[in-house]
């Protein structure tokens, strides 16, 4: 692995050398290295590109890293990764994709991740998407992550998904089925677009479990001439509660559209959606300027805090 690849790994998965525990590093469309543990097995798929990650019931305090890095221009990578998290397990899964584009061709990674969260299992899923180009390299970086989540009785899935820089076009599609009684989904999505980038974020959540809950917070910043769309559709089919929040800052000539939808198909479904789009509040800038920050520094701090 060369320096560019190592830097990408550090950015997206905070990995310096070989990660602890189970891992599968995919570089330029092929497996670079892999490790399994007694409780976590990783198996290549036979019928299509991708891996199965099988986590034994009762596995506690273990982590899996499955980063993907692309450092060739013009490479189009598609993977199917399926996660089977056994009952009562408690694990952290770190994914993420980094593209370093050194040429003029489009580099693309489409990852389709499916999670089966077992009964009373807890999963924290961290995903970072990042792109960078060599100077004068005009090749576009595209990432289209699809995430499908099934949460069984008493299960808990927390997703922390971030795309801050360097991705020219993305469709981030998340579908969740909160199936079991008392199952819970928490999503913290952070997105920033620059230049002429475009991002679509789509969340479809079906709440089928009795007393299931969903807490989805999306924070987005669109700068320059970039555009974003946000669509969330939360369907309550049982006694359940959900809170969705889409909060966005627009700057320069950027445009954002948000379409929240909540559907209650059960009398005891309690669904809330909050959505707000606007420029940085003038009074926030003024406040930080009265503390001695320049307008640019104040903007930076406000954005950094907003996306923290």
């Amino acid at each position: 692995m060369d320096k560019i690849q190592r830097d990408l790994l550090k950015t997206i998965a905070d990995i310096h050398e070989v990660p602890e525990g189970a891992y599968n590093i995919r570089a330029n469309g092929a497996t670079d290295s892999r490790a399994t543990t007694e409780n976590i097995n990783i198996v290549s798929k036979e019928d299509k590109p991708g891996i199965d990650i099988i986590i034994k019931a009762g596995t506690k305090n273990e982590s899996v890293h499955i980063p993907v890095i692309i450092s060739e221009t013009g490479l189009k990578d598609l993977v199917y990764n399926d996660f089977y998290i056994g009952d009562d397990a408690d694990v952290v899964i770190v994914a993420g994709c980094g593209i370093h584009n050194c040429g003029t061709e489009l580099s693309q990674h489409d990852g389709i991740h499916t999670f089966h969260v077992g009964k009373n299992a807890r999963v924290k899923y961290i995903e970072k998407h990042y792109g960078e180009n060599d100077e004068d390299a005009t090749g576009e970086n595209v990432m289209n992550p699809t995430t499908i989540v099934y949460v069984e009785e008493g299960g808990y899935m927390e997703m922390e998904t971030t795309q801050i820089k360097g991705i020219d076009s993305t469709v981030r599609d998340t579908k969740a089925y909160i199936q079991g009684e008392g199952a819970k989904l928490v999503v913290r999505d952070k997105l920033m677009t620059h230049g002429r980038q475009h991002a679509d974020a789509i969340f479809d959540v079906e709440m089928n479990g009795f007393e299931s809950t969903c807490d989805l917070i999306s924070r987005a910043v669109a700068r320059d001439d970039s555009t974003q769309t946000f669509k969330a559709n939360i369907i309550g089919n049982a006694k359940c509660s959900s809170h969705t929040e889409c909060d966005a800052i627009i700057m320069d000539n950027a445009k954002i559209s948000a379409s929240p939808e909540i559907v209650a198909n059960d009398l005891d479904a309690a669904l809330i959606h909050e959505a707000a789009i606007g420029r940085i509040a003038g009074e926030q800038l003024i406040k930080l300027m009265t503390l001695g920050l320049s307008q640019e520094a104040a903007e930076q701090e406000i954005i950094a805090g907003f996306l923290k």
Partner: protein, 239 residues
């Protein structure tokens, strides 16, 4: 230290006519002085504060700070020159923590202990607040006190406070009075406080009464305060 020379400020009203909010105000504030600005609502007090800190720019006149003409200086440059401001309604953020705000105010990364010191000064149990977001979860009284803690962290030559008493309960208020007194005594700083509160006016060296954008009375506390305390009804400054 601070001098306002014939400062006026006009805005356009709904009918696009010029409306004068501040009319030809001249005012001198010396080093190490505690000045209270009072007067009826709508008299121009907050506007005057915002002209001093640079949120508004005068339509005419000059503002001199330590011999330097700051009339057209930006908010940031005035802050760096040594002017601090506590908002009447402190600003709330998303994702900015109390310790971030105190660090910005201090102009450097403080140790947690140092940052906590400023919160303790304004009567907040520091460890409960230092990691809190400066957002809607803070009560009006809490955020007002954090606002004043940022002034202490800034420790500038001049502090301008716009109605620091608003939204603060009585118990906290007594402590804040002590904070203001301490600010002046220990730090030898000048303070301009906009206030309607007798107890604040009572610790001022000088009181300025502002009405309809003009200074209608100005002088040492002992001369002005008794007149103000005759009751709003009978007070000539409030009529």
């Amino acid at each position: 230290m601070l001098e306002l020379k014939n400062v006026s400020f006009e805005i356009k009203d709904e009918k696009d006519n010029d409306k004068e909010i501040i009319r030809d105000i001249s005012l001198e504030i010396d080093n190490n002085k505690f000045i209270a600005i009072t007067g009826p609502n709508g008299g121009g007090k907050s506007t005057l504060a915002k002209l001093i800190v640079g949120i508004y720019e005068p339509t005419s006149g000059q503002i001199i700070f330590n011999g330097q003409d700051i009339t057209h200086m930006s908010i940031t440059d005035r802050a760096k020159a040594g002017i601090s401001f506590a908002f009447q309604q402190p600003v709330r953020f998303k994702g900015i923590k109390v310790k971030d705000l105190i660090n910005y105010a201090a102009g450097r990364q403080l140790s947690i202990a140092a940052a906590c010191h400023f919160l303790s000064e304004v009567g907040l149990c520091a460890r409960d607040y230092i990691d809190r977001d400066v957002d809607a979860s803070l009560s009006g009284g809490e955020i007002k006190r954090i606002e004043i803690a940022t002034l202490l962290a800034r420790n500038t030559e001049l502090s301008v406070l716009d109605e620091p008493e608003a939204g603060i309960d009585l118990w906290s208020f007594s402590n804040l009075i002590k904070v203001f007194e301490k600010m002046r005594e220990e730090r030898e700083r000048s303070i301009i406080i906009i206030s309607h509160q007798e107890r604040i006016l009572n610790i001022a060296d000088e009181i300025v009464v502002l009405k309809d954008g003009q200074i209608v009375a100005q002088g040492p506390k002992d001369g002005i305060l008794p007149e103000l305390l005759k009751g709003t009804e009978g007070c000539r400054f409030y009529q």
